[in-house]
């Protein structure tokens, strides 16, 4: 899954670096970085879904999987 909550950059690769370049390095920028003070009455998940997702509010949900796995 590629979401806007994941950013990447390409580290400089020297001809003298011993390993082949990794390509992109990834980092997360989850929704809490953008929310500010949470407004009242945000839409909610059902209790079961909230438990499964780890948050009551879809606005904070940020699924994570190994980004290097996906690349291969």
């Amino acid at each position: 899954m590629s979401s806007s909550n994941q950013k990447s950059y390409v580290p400089y690769h020297s001809p003298y670096d011993p390993c082949p370049p990794i390509g992109k390095k990834y980092y997360s920028t989850p929704p809490n970085l953008y929310m500010g003070f949470q407004p009242y009455n945000l839409p909610q998940y059902s209790p079961k879904e909230a438990l499964q997702k780890g948050t009551l509010w879809p606005a904070f949900y940020d699924y994570y999987e190994n980004p290097y796995e996906r690349r291969r």
Binding site: Q38, Y40, A50, L51, L56, W57
Partner: protein, 87 residues
Amino acid sequence: MPSTLPEEFYQWMEELQAVDFVLVELTLYLDTHPQDQSAVQQFNQFAKQRKQIKRAIESKYGPLQQYGNSYSGMPWNWSDGPWPWQV
């Protein structure tokens, strides 16, 4: 508790975990939003619901909490396994 738990136990537990999770989320939210009236209402409603689920689980599987927050069976059944990390 019986040594092997029936599937029903896991369903009850997940029921409680789901309701309790809403309560955890609302607790942290209300800690920073103490004036949100509808969130307070929802919190109290879920608090009531969790009491009912707790009672239903305890009637079949023994006490969930200690120090008098749950009733004991006879004999004392708090120490009966399995424990949460074992199930």
